[in-house]
């Protein structure tokens, strides 16, 4: 994908994307909230959408809308072509060996549940162990709890240290002969910790343990090469990578996906149906019962184009620069304490202000047009580990800028001043 961003040349002669022009591509970022310009720092919950994504979905509904895989008419063929092209593109984006390894789902949660149910039912038995880390989002915890309850397997949790990291030594110790599945997040949504995914998968594979990576927080921030990572399953959502809600991906190595029985039965997933029995279609259709989220998949495809049009080198550089700037600003605010100080951190900063409830701070920031997340971030056990009920979480994306971070800094300071006066 060739870059369509008019590049700016920096003082050192390197060309960089024009981030202001890129920011203009996101209509929702350009609005006032409570009389202030919006500063959106809740990317880890869901990212804003560029015009390219919105237009692709609108175009589909206006011009190509038809059901896929089942019509001879021209519209249906067009819809099928764009839908399947999106699968091929997603496979290439991730470095998958084959496009049939890409299953479209409604999101990360659905992808993990599909594996926990289908793979879990086929492979887990009493006494087996499923290993997750203490950093997991509930989406990569609760489905495994449910699978363990169903099958009699045991759920084990690799502990988190005070920095909000999970040590590779601890993982190694807990990957035992009884472990059947190791499911972990590559990047923690609550703290931003980046886990050494490749190293962990390698350790697990050497011991014959199946691996699943929750990559929800990775896709907009780091390139993924499945051939290097080598995991059995990887899951993510389109809406955290500039794409639409309600669309996600389950990647699985083909030979592993072939062992999965469908969880849902219905249209599109069958080969032959009679009243006595039915046989299943080939991958990937077998695991995609019913009419898929066609417009969502088209939106995902446009989101991939968008990210690639900027390029990973630029995105990585931009986000690391914004993160360093935000860390420095927030670190200098009195009373602010970071929750989690991982050595390897993605664009997420969780913090609390001593004596201040995150909801109060979040509300007073919203009054100043600052959108960030407050609460437990769907990671209640992790919050309990730190002895708190929740945090304020700033999460960054390529469309944020330094001026917004300056405003965040000032807004936190005035909110804390207000609360301190009341608290006297």
């Amino acid at each position: 994908m060739s870059s369509n961003w008019s590049a700016k040349t920096g003082s050192e002669g390197l060309t960089r994307p024009d981030w202001d022009a890129i920011r203009l591509e996101f209509p929702a970022l350009h609005q006032s909230v409570n009389g202030c310009p919006l500063a959106y720092f809740d990317h880890a919950a869901t990212s804003q959408k560029p015009r390219r994504v919105i237009n692709a979905m609108t175009h589909y509904y206006q011009s190509d809308n038809a059901n896929v895989h089942r019509g001879v008419h021209n519209l249906s063929q067009r819809a099928t072509t764009v839908y399947e092209a999106a699968r091929t593109k997603t496979a290439r984006f991730l470095g998958a060996a084959d496009s049939s390894e890409i299953i479209f789902t409604s999101g990360t949660t659905a992808s993990i549940n599909l594996v926990a149910q289908s793979w879990g039912n086929a492979h887990l038995k009493p006494g087996d162990e499923v290993l997750v880390t203490g950093l997991e989002h509930h989406a990569n915890l609760v489905p495994w709890q449910m699978a363990c309850t169903r099958t009699g397997a045991r759920l084990k949790i690799v502990p988190v240290n005070e920095r909000g990291e999970v040590s590779t030594e601890a993982v190694s110790e807990m990957l035992t002969s009884g472990t059947r599945m190791f499911a972990f997040c590559w990047i923690s949504n609550a703290l931003g910790t980046i886990n050494p995914a490749q190293e962990w998968v390698e350790m697990a594979r050497k011991r014959g343990i199946t691996t699943l990576i929750d990559a929800a927080q990775v896709v907009a921030h780091k390139p993924i090469n499945l051939q290097e990572i080598g995991c059995d399953f990887l899951c993510f959502s389109a809406h955290k990578m500039m794409g639409p809600t309600g669309t996600g991906v389950l990647y699985g190595i083909k030979s592993v996906l072939e062992t999965l029985d469908p969880v849902f039965g219905g249209g599109d997933m069958i080969d032959e149906v009679s009243y006595e029995r039915s046989t299943w279609a080939d991958l990937p259709y077998r695991l995609e019962a019913g009419t898929p989220n066609i417009s969502g998949v088209i939106g995902l495809s446009a989101a991939i184009d968008f990210l690639e049009s900027i390029g990973w080198a630029s995105i990585l550089e931009r986000e690391s620069e914004l993160l360093s700037y935000a860390l420095e600003k927030l670190r200098n605010i009195p009373r602010i304490r970071f929750i989690g100080e991982p050595k390897l951190r993605s664009g997420v900063i969780s913090f609390i202000a001593d004596g201040v409830h995150p909801y109060d701070l979040g509300t007073l920031l919203d009054e100043q047009g600052i959108a960030l997340r407050t609460g437990h971030h769907c990671a209640q056990p992790l919050m309990r580990h730190f002895g708190i009920s929740g945090t304020c979480r700033v999460s960054l994306a390529l469309y944020n800028n330094h001026e917004e971070i300056d405003r965040l800094d000032l807004a936190i300071r005035s909110a804390l001043r207000l609360i301190t006066n009341v608290d006297k």
């Binding site: 409570n34 409830h357 909801y359 109060d360 509300t363 007073l364 919203d366 009054e367 609460g375 009920s389 005035s414 207000l418 609360i419 006066n421 009341v422 608290d423």
Partner: protein, 146 residues
């Protein structure tokens, strides 16, 4: 013996007038959180699941006591803003008769522009607090069995 308060409409008028003097968000929140200081707080034993208001993102506990046909309210919260909101409700409804609590309209949040500034979560919380006060009033009237 606690003092008998002014009427529910009069108290709301007074509070609305107080808020009218405040012209920016900082002053309004400072005032709201300041009202929260009136909330006496509850002991650990009183912070039961029964007394926890459903629908609040932050935790709010509320308990009431009927004395001479007037309902008295005691509350606590872990956040300053929720404490301020419950303080507003207590200002309006504390010491009123159950019949008045059930029949008088409560439009103060709209009048002071609070509703527009509440996230859906907080609006649910406010609705939950009001529902709890009216439920207790209904129980006191004997309309509902506790």
């Amino acid at each position: 013996m606690m003092n008998i308060p002014a009427s529910i409409p009069d108290i709301q008028d007074q509070l609305a007038a107080d808020f009218e003097f405040l012209d920016d968000w900082e002053e309004r929140y400072a005032y709201l959180m300041d009202l929260g200081k009136d909330v006496r707080g509850l002991s650990q034993e009183e912070k039961t699941l029964d007394n926890l208001i459903k629908g609040c993102q932050s935790r709010v506990w509320l308990t009431t006591r009927l004395e001479n046909n007037r309902l008295w309210m005691y509350a606590d919260s872990d956040t300053f803003i929720a404490r301020g909101i419950i303080a507003l409700l207590i200002r309006v409804f504390n010491g009123q008769t159950p019949a008045d609590i059930l029949s008088e309209p409560f439009d103060l949040p709209e009048r002071i522009g609070l509703t527009a500034h509440l996230s859906p979560g907080r609006a649910n919380g406010l609705a939950g607090m009001l529902a709890r006060i009216r439920y207790d009033a209904a129980v006191a009237l004997g309309d509902r069995k506790n």
